[in-house]
Amino acid sequence: MLQRLSHLLGTENLTREQIAFILDQAKPFQEFQRHPLKKLATLRGKTVAIAFFESSTRTRISFTTAASRLGADTMALQAESSSLKKGESLIDTVRTLEAMRPDGIVIRHASSGAPEFVAQRLEIPVLNAGDGTHEHPTQALLDALTIRDRKGKLEGWNVTILGDILHSRVARSNIHVLSKFGVKITLCGPAMWVPRELEKLAPGIRVVHCIEEGLRGADVVMVLRVQTERIHEPALAPDEYISQFQLTPARLKLAQPEALVLHPGPIVRGLEIDSAVADGPQSGVLEQVTNGLAIRMALLYHLIGGAAADAPHPAKDRTNASD
């Protein structure tokens, strides 16, 4: 099913079938996380370059652990220590990586389109761990898995995404996934962060600028990070944001009774979300983390380590299988 996929650059171009396949394949890896011994030899001898040109702890650790648990070795490249700061261009950093012959690259970069740039120039699989404000496909996939597990299915829900949508790659990737499953998506936040034009991104989207309206009827509420870095334009004073858009227990009551609350992390408690909600029974935040590991293991398993498509299959001659 993923044979035609040589990279995972985004969710925009994944079909519904491919998304369902990835979610299904995450299942055995979810179970795997409960094994006492969490170490496979499946990708033993393979090396995965973890190239994070933008700082991140959670996603980087998640990918590194996923590769490790599959038995692969990892090669870490981080922005702080990278020669990128010394003026080496992305293309030279990429060529250097290539010369070290990893079997795959996981890349996070501040420029939208950087993973595609790398994928066009290298012969090895590229997995996008977040590029600029464009896509963060594994986040959307783990979010979809969490919804599917908690709510029994993915189709047809009302999902509200809350926060700075304009600068959110998590929002975009989620929009591309959910819209393929007939989900009705509500984008909610301050007008400068949620322009009406976003309704054109995919079918089934509406934009609202008032949190009460945004939450009414929601089956799933995805709360985005309000970042302290300069990404929000214009920046809003925290109190302004909190008074209008913080997800409080009272506001959550406007949503459906069993509404699932998700957050890509890290959470800034007391800013975009009240602690009581983040830790409450409706929160799926911890499952998101475990599911992230499962999704990333499933993707690394399928994208890295097979032979070339046209390689001969010596092993196949000696199996008792006709199917």
């Binding site: 055995p28 030899a41 499946t42 398993y301 399928h302 380590g305 097979g306 299959h313 092993a315 006709s322």
Partner: protein, 182 residues
């Protein structure tokens, strides 16, 4: 893949009798089914293990736990296949430590599947003992693996395949010897 049937090895009735005999052998050998558990290797080991457990429940009145094991992630040939095969779930809901485990599969051939199955089991804990039960042992071992409980032992050549059809998966019930046609 195109195949040509050569001869039938087991009829539906013979499969049933064989499983019955195997179930008895397993219980005898386990000294009363204490700590016994069966693990069926996907795919066809799974219905076989369930039937064995059902038989044991019937004549020994003992509930033997049954688990399912998918060995895909433990295969030793993944870097030679074009794209990685779909992974199915492994479901072993009982603790593996100190268990008297019997791996159940339909056909024992090179032994690599069983090696992978053992790797998978060791990820879950430390069984006291692992034994192997197969419907057919067709020879040609490439690793030092042996089955303690064998339905039928047959001589085969490399160009042949032992095809096991079970009603739970294939809608019919028999074991045939077929020839690969290249």
């Amino acid at each position: 893949m195109p195949v040509v049937e050569k001869r039938q090895l087991l009829s539906a009735e013979e499969i049933g009798r064989t499983l019955s005999r195997l179930a008895h052998e397993i219980v005898e050998n386990s000294g009363g089914a204490k700590d016994l558990a069966l693990v069926g290797v996907r795919r066809r080991g799974v219905p076989l293990s369930e039937r064995l457990a059902s038989q044991i429940r019937g004549f020994a009145n003992v509930e033997v736990p049954v688990g399912t094991l998918d060995i895909t992630l433990y295969r030793d040939d993944l870097s030679t296949v074009g794209s990685h095969p779909v992974v199915q779930s492994t479901q072993i809901d009982f603790p593996v430590d100190n268990r008297d485990l019997v791996i159940v599969d339909d056909v024992l051939y090179t032994g690599r599947t069983i090696r992978a199955a053992m790797n998978g089991l060791f990820d879950l804990g430390r069984p006291r003992r692992i034994q192997l039960c197969v419907l057919i042992d067709r020879g040609h071992r490439e690793l030092p693996v042996e089955a303690s409980f064998i339905g039928r032992q047959i001589q085969t050549s490399d160009s042949e395949i032992v095809e096991v059809r079970l009603r739970e998966i294939d809608g019919e019930e028999r074991v045939m010897l077929v020839d690969r046609v290249s």
